[in-house]
């Protein structure tokens, strides 16, 4: 559904591999993680903690907090404001996060 717009600017970004819920997936180093996840068709990207409603990135500029994902073990990271790094492990979020060792595991 989502793909890169063709442009005249030379594409200098390097392709890398990231992992989404354990599955390998191609992305470009330095692109916004939310963009990479949209291209990988990770929609809905999360479900809200209160109503369980599905959510996907909306603003893509750090304001709406709809694109929260877990990155390398850190929950609720804004994917639109996180550049892709080689080998990053991303988990999609269902419901509220846990706090420390309290409140059980998030999932």
């Amino acid at each position: 559904m989502f793909k890169l717009i063709e442009s005249d600017a030379p594409q200098r970004r390097r392709i890398c591999e990231i992992f989404v819920d354990g599955e390998p997936c191609q992305a470009m180093i330095g692109e916004p993680l939310a963009a990479a996840l949209l291209k990988a068709n990770c929609v809905p990207m999360r479900y809200t903690p209160v109503s369980g409603a599905p959510r996907a990135p909306l603003c893509m500029m750090g304001v709406c907090f709809e694109c929260l994902v877990e990155v390398d073990g850190t929950p609720n990271v804004q994917a639109c404001a996180t550049p892709v790094r080689e080998g990053m492990h991303v988990r999609l979020i269902h419901g509220a996060r846990s706090i420390g060792q309290l409140g059980g595991a998030a999932q």
Binding site: P49, V50, F65, R97, G100
Partner: protein
């Protein structure tokens, strides 16, 4: 200009004014609830949401008893609101904790609660807890917590849902909430008060000023005084998490939706309802000492709000002696006292004798004694 005539006008659409309007409407009276715009100082939208008994009224037995009775009414009050409006205000009233970070704080707390319990003249259940007993009540307590106090009458609710529910109730019972009307002038004319706003005139034989800090300007228009001052509190809200905190504490609570609210700063900075890094750091640091795992959470919102405080922290409930039928109501604890305001206070506003407990809550107590 149009005139709107009702039995009562309540000035102030916050928690205090809405509680009173709701109570009046339940008695079958007609009410206009006048409110300002979103540029007003709105303690009702910035507060912490505690239904809190422990420690209140250390300087006034009457206020301690008024508070205990208010807390006792909360469960049925919120049930009635939910039955009418379908809005659950997320009341949890299984007790509350005040955590202490050193032994002298704990000793002071013990003294203070002992003092209230020995003078209040009615049951005042509370426990002083050592560290182990605190850990028995809540998980994840930090190593700096030496103990605390627990009071089973305490609880918390969602203050925004409460305000929404009361506004819905006002509407459903036939009252009118009129936002965007700043009262500029109050005149008594041929048997009723006339309130002039930039857009309209409103008439009623009885008026209740419940405009928070706005009462400072309004009260003198009907021969009353409301010497209230703004005391700023700053609040931090962290992202929603799975439930971990079973009880609210004075400084940290987990809301019904999972968010962590951190608060209880107190500053005298005039009418500045902003935030400051210094205060936010202090309240965050205390919260993390109480519950270290909170340090892992992202803060998603922060704000300042202005408490409506009298010099002694007690309310003003007063009818004008010059202009009967005009009342001023100012208090800091609008959430805790909501049921008292909707029920007991409204009984008085309708022409019944003033309840004994609150006869002393007049503004004249602040007058300097002449010698």
């Amino acid at each position: 200009m149009t005139k709107h005539e009702t039995d009562f006008i309540v000035v102030g659409g916050g928690v205090v004014g809405a509680s009173i309007a709701y109570g009046l409407l339940r008695r079958g009276l007609t009410v206009n609830l006048l409110d300002e715009g979103d540029d007003a100082f709105r303690a009702a939208r910035g507060n912490f949401g505690l239904v809190w008994v422990q420690g209140k009224g250390a300087n006034s037995t009457a206020y301690a008893r008024w508070t205990v009775q208010a807390a006792a009414r909360w469960q049925s009050f919120s049930s009635a609101l939910a039955a009418l409006t379908g809005i659950d205000v997320q009341l949890q009233q299984r007790g509350g904790l005040h955590l202490c970070l050193d032994n002298s704080e704990l000793a002071r707390r013990d003294e203070e609660l002992k003092g209230i319990a020995s003078t209040i003249g009615e049951p005042y259940p509370y426990e002083i807890l050592d560290r182990k007993a605190v850990q028995h009540r809540v998980l994840g307590v930090g190593p700096d917590v030496v103990g605390g106090s627990f009071c089973p009458m305490d609880g918390h609710a969602n203050p925004l849902r409460l305000l929404k529910a009361m506004h819905a109730a006002v509407h459903m019972l036939g009252g009118t909430h009129v936002p965007g009307h700043h009262v500029e002038m109050i005149e008594y004319r041929s048997g009723a008060y006339e309130l002039k706003t930039p857009h309209a005139r409103f008439r009623a034989p009885r008026i209740v000023l419940a405009a928070g800090l706005g009462n400072r300007q309004l009260a003198p228009m009907v021969g009353l005084r409301a010497p209230v001052e703004p005391i700023r509190g700053q609040v931090l809200v962290c992202e929603r998490a799975l439930p971990f905190l079973d009880l609210p504490t004075l400084h940290v609570r987990q809301t019904g939706d999972g968010g962590i609210q951190i608060g209880d700063s107190k500053e005298d900075v005039g009418f500045d309802d902003g935030t400051s890094l210094e205060q936010m750091s202090q309240i965050a640091a205390r919260a993390v000492r109480c519950f270290p795992d909170i340090g892992n959470l992202n803060v998603v919102r922060a704000w300042g709000a202005l408490r409506v405080m009298t010099g002694d922290g007690l309310p003003i409930y007063e009818e004008s002696s010059d202009q009967p039928g005009a009342f001023v109501i100012s208090c800091h604890s609008g959430i805790t006292l909501a049921a008292m305001h909707a029920e007991v206070l409204v009984h008085w506003l309708c022409g019944n004798p003033k309840p004994d407990l609150i006869t002393g809550f007049n503004a004249e107590r602040f007058d300097v004694q002449a010698h």
